[in-house]
Symmetry: C2
Subunit: 430 residues, 2 copies
């Protein structure tokens, strides 16, 4: 077993932010391929152990143009293997039963990244079709533990400083959970905010594109680059910010590691000036976990109908069980779950308008479980995902074994900028 | 010019419903490829004039299994050319600048149709990327008039009895408008209800898959086949059904043809027992048209970023203008439109809960405009689409020139079954 401190050893180069690198490019202190080269060296060193990559670029890219104020110029990026690319293969975590050497068109995300000068390092390991069958990736903090899933490779690659930025998707807890387990920032924006064109669907009313980084500033820079929102300011002091503490579901106690992580996060928030208090949400919210499972299964059975017809004999048993469960789910049950969701989306908007700015909640049931045969439980993410709320994993705490345990900040839909601004303010004080 | 009566001449075979054909299969009065053959003959006869097809199947399919109670057994189906297929080319209405001889995986819809025994006749003409640049299709009621768009070929093929069922998508008014112009039923379900996996995205928070048929019963049969909802009953008598009359926007008067179509529809509804009355919706609803334009442009610019990067030089000027408009749309403006939409989604749910069962509204500004260089204005569809509401075009009226002019019935989200049940009850009385 490789210790945490050996496995994620930082150097000065690793610690830079995207904005700092852009500044060094403008000052001619760095070349546009410097970060790429440094990442390649890191990957050469670490990939045999971490195994974050499904595919790596076979050649050095053309240097991106320094003209035009691109905000991701020269930033090496990892893409979850369900995000299609023209010049790299995509295999959707299938280990080959479904694979293309290159798609006809890049995913929309790829063009948006290219416009900003980012450099695609390769495709990161996904679980099978972004469901629960694990890929090969290990947790860089302890190689015998899962990195979480389904965006396993993206979380691990960022945690291990192989790339400063990597993209994933969340349908249940596939960004926030691996971010928690790997000790990185993981951001799931408001549902439907970042185009999923060219990304394999699983459950269209849940699937959300998001990203991982080691700096909250980089999460924010990326948000601005993709949406053309204004630069998100650091909130100076969190005085007046109201943070409600509530896990979803609230009736399943998290492990002691997660309890400690929540206590620590609440302390950090209060030290930064925020007010943190228990948020009473009625018991209907706890039912969202079951509704999320119903929606996900029903939609997956239909959305993956062609893949199932074509490749069902090659699929892992977890995925088959999910699709069969969805096929057996009555339409009336699905519609009921969608309607309850709509009611609670409205209700939580009122909560955010009246009672709190953010919710602080568990990201995961504890640290990354030992073993590589499962990717952990997305329990504490399902409800927030169903509500379409933006969620940010904060990597503020490590347990007694040195494993990270995250917590998430949750905002109302379309309050992504406010969430990131508060989180930036918080991290200035940590 | 070919007259309406010559161009759409019915025979007994044309008039059958999907359910009637299934019954005749069970009684061994029809063979499973009979409808296919009849449609091929009709296409051979009419396609040179109507030009509804981008691609036609080159061989007769295997006869579908009669075992298993498939509800679309032997039903020939047209697919809009933005719906991907493995064994037929897709060109997304581009006239060839983007084209695949076959995709790696069928669209989810194709597998769901196959499971029900449907037979894919081919790909119907779409406008360019389902936006406004017209394809070659003509209106079968008058070949010098547009069939509407963007689902031009699907609406025209059904109207001309080339197939009993064809699929399209709506982002602004691309199902309801061509259904109105072509005189067929056109159904846009609740947003997000039918999986769009394998269908080209344009504006992900608006794009909705739907279908065209000549019988309301077939619209309903198809809904049940795709969702596994229960069979939708014919509502016996519309006594107690409250129908509110309101165009969106309400401040742009429709042409006299549409006025007449609305009066006629209201009379039909009242004769069937419903109560029809003007529905007062406040002026915020009228702003939805502009919000829809903002959302559509912002999202299209990002969703089609790769296509624009790759093929922008080949794109038509309308599509380029849309993408450039979206690139110039501020994020704050987009978010504002999304938030107004959420508020009005909540508000209209209250209206449906308290005041009306359905809304009766104009489908189009009048009959199909003359000329083939534009596809008409989706004005009266934009708002309902933005709200995600299920909409059904009713082909109840023809103007003085013999051209159809539709109206739409609109229900609250997830009330698709109720909408279809009432419409079935209405059509029993027409």
């Amino acid at each position: 077993m490789i210790s945490r401190h050996r496995s994620i050893q930082l150097n000065r180069q690793d610690a830079r932010t995207i904005a700092a690198f852009q500044a060094s490019l403008r000052r001619d202190e760095s070349g546009p391929l410097d970060w790429w080269q440094a990442c390649r060296e890191r990957i050469d060193l670490r990939e045999p152990e971490v195994q974050a990559w499904e595919y790596l670029a076979t050649s050095t890219p053309e240097p991106p143009s320094l003209v035009g104020g691109h905000s991701l110029c020269g930033v090496p990026v990892g893409l979850k293997d369900i995000i299609e690319t023209r010049d790299m293969p995509t295999s959707w975590g299938t280990r080959g039963y479904l694979k293309t050497p290159g798609s006809l068109v890049d995913a929309a995300l790829v063009a948006l990244l290219d416009q900003q000068g980012a450099l695609i390092m390769g495709k990161t390991v996904s679980t099978e079709m972004a469901f629960f069958t694990p890929g090969k990736t290990r947790n860089p903090h302890d190689l015998t533990h899962t990195p979480g899933g389904s965006s396993s490779g993206s979380a691990a690659a960022v945690a291990d400083r192989m790339v400063p930025l990597a993209f994933g998707t969340q349908t249940a807890g596939s960004i926030i959970r691996p971010a928690s387990y790997c000790g990185v920032f993981g951001f799931k924006p408001t549902f439907d905010l970042i185009s999923l064109a060219g990304v394999k669907s699983f459950s269209p009313s849940l699937d959300t594109l998001g990203w991982f980084a080691n700096h909250i500033e980089d999460i924010s820079t990326t948000f601005t680059a993709l949406t053309q929102a204004r630069d998100i300011p650091v909130l100076e002091g969190l005085s007046g910010v109201r943070v409600g503490l509530r896990n979803l579901p609230g009736d399943v106690p998290p492990g002691s590691d997660t309890e400690q992580a929540l206590v620590h996060a609440a302390e950090c928030l209060e030290q930064a000036g925020a007010k943190v208090f228990p948020l009473p949400l009625d018991r209907r919210y706890d039912t969202l976990v079951e509704h999320q499972k119903i929606v996900m299964a029903y939609e997956a059975a239909r959305t993956l109908a062609s893949e199932y017809q074509m490749c069902g004999h090659s699929m892992g048993e977890k995925l088959i069980a999910q699709i069969e469960q969805g096929r057996a789910t009555p339409y009336a049950s699905y519609i009921n779950s969608r309607q309850v969701t709509e009611e609670l989306k409205q209700a939580i908007t009122t909560v955010f308008a009246e009672d709190v700015d953010l919710i602080l909640a568990a990201s995961s049931m504890g640290a990354a479980p030992a073993g590589l045969d499962a990717t952990g439980d997305p329990l504490y993410c399902r409800g927030w995902t169903l509500l379409g709320l933006p969620c940010l994993n904060l990597p503020l705490y490590h347990n007694g074994q040195g494993l990270p345990v995250g917590v998430q900040l949750v905002a109302d839909r379309f309050q992504d900028e406010r969430l990131l601004s508060i989180a930036r303010g918080l991290m200035e004080n940590v």
